[in-house]
Symmetry: C2
Subunit: 365 residues, 2 copies
Amino acid sequence: MIRPHPAVEALPPATPFIGPERLMRETGRSELVRLGANESAFGPSPFAIAAMERELPRLSWYGDPDSLDLRDALASKHACDAGSILVVAGIDDVMGLIVRAYVGAGGLALAARGTYPTFAYHVHGYGGTLETVDYRDDGFVDVDAMIAAARRLDPHLVYLANPDNPSGTLLPASEVERLIDALPARTLLLLDEAYADFVSDDRLLARPLDDRVIRTRTFSKAYGFAGARIGYALLTRAHHDVLQKVRLQYGVNRNAQIGALAALADTAFVTGVIAQTQAGREEYVALATSLGLRTLPSHTNFVCIDCGTGERATRVMHELLQRGVWIRKPGARPLDRFVRVSVGTAPMRAAFTDAFRAVLAVVPA
Amino acid sequence: MIRPHPAVEALPPATPFIGPERLMRETGRSELVRLGANESAFGPSPFAIAAMERELPRLSWYGDPDSLDLRDALASKHACDAGSILVVAGIDDVMGLIVRAYVGAGGLALAARGTYPTFAYHVHGYGGTLETVDYRDDGFVDVDAMIAAARRLDPHLVYLANPDNPSGTLLPASEVERLIDALPARTLLLLDEAYADFVSDDRLLARPLDDRVIRTRTFSKAYGFAGARIGYALLTRAHHDVLQKVRLQYGVNRNAQIGALAALADTAFVTGVIAQTQAGREEYVALATSLGLRTLPSHTNFVCIDCGTGERATRVMHELLQRGVWIRKPGARPLDRFVRVSVGTAPMRAAFTDAFRAVLAVVPA
């Protein structure tokens, strides 16, 4: 009998996020208003698209395993050395590497309960244990509880998404600083900054890189590259050398490298996306307010709207899908009473607004 | 002190293949004749390029995590169920998943010594032990030795690339069949068919899928998609369910999915690539013969040329690089006396021919 390694055999069946393509097949729809995965509704920069178009005939070449040109550009952007940057196939990719390298079999990790689920997926997948602390009821990560748990548990790795997903809330840099300073000596912080592009630099951690933190960034959100699978970690040489030992050396696709490099140069485009995103968030907040619903303060490209109970939020999500609008919602308390809707273009937001009003009228509070 | 998991800390520093981009920086060249990584010199199908171009504005969407459309097309091509196909970000990706799931910490794998090095990288990286058997001196995988070793060692996983890289040789389907039938009951065969597109179907394993074998395929070679990072495994539902538990659910990029789907439809293009590749191989064989050098019989898009000794082959490779021609060579005996050159376009082959003649004149036998 051929059987997998006991550690993998013991894993439960995967229950990944269902993709909109499968939902379309299941509902018989030829399209959905895609507001479920915090994809950018504003696409990649036209300048980046043109760069990728030009290079498609050379897609038969492997991407540069060292991402030399892109790392140079990122080092310039972040005023650091290229050795402090590891380019990866999206944050999910490097998150897996970090968990594999720093948690691993028998290791211990700590995160907010219900934060970005792929972190838990990796911790379990690599044989680690995940301990959690609850979000505060206002949707913020509970830093005091996290510090207390870290001191009690002495974990190998603490995960903090800031801005957070799925809540959208942003901890002040001083709170992140306080968390780092309070962590046990052996504890690494994985600071997931997937949504940092939507936050002004003066509100982000300003601390120079040291071995206590690995920060992760992506081109998937403000840059509109989710389908390209490209991101990077900001990290010390020591961590770089460790992840280099386990990463897929030729894992980043060439088209993404070329597009990301061009996108970095088109700062005006990203600035415009950020402004449009803020306007879209404000529209959602106004909509919710007009319906008597509260929202969480978001520093991302999505907004969480309070539906009162988890049951109602789930029904709202399903009813929206019946009307062709695809959103998602947090699964764990206390955030499970919210629905999470990504900022779309103006027509997408209008479609959401109409459907949301109609759904609320039929889903009792 | 923050330190990685002992299993990762114990790994040696990574020594990946050096990419041509780094070689260009180091040698101060603005271009190289790329004949080192068995990339297709004929690019992707223009039909696939057009499909990818059209979809670039939607690169802000994640790829379908289930690759539904592509799996349907592949199921049709292979006359199997879509559940027998797992789409991945290249064979390196799924090879890592298979090693993680079926070898893992304390597990045992078996392969030909010097075959595709990423397999050894994964086995060591996931805490397994790799046992090897030598190639036969004629460049073929030694099936008798592999069967004997498998029976003696009872490994969890046996790796066979067929056609093989770096030798290019092809075992008859009957020999692969003999190997499978002789493996111990708990042993899985990873049959890496990265180069199978260059072989006519009647020379490939015809056996229906069962739990004893996972076959891997790629769009990187004949389809010219190396930079796109997309491939797939042919496997039973049981293996599919296992790998589903550990794979990156959103790891395949959307552009690659779209391009691969379009490329499958352009069968005339791939047929042309295969014919041009065969002509290029014959040209290399004629060149070697004219210089009194032997070649290995290749069923791939590269040819191994015998330079007599490992030292000479290494010097030939370095001298070619000095002349702007980038190739690679096998590292382990008995194949280390060969240089391995990918089939290029006619101008690339002409550049190689000129440089190779010049180098042989200055590198003594």
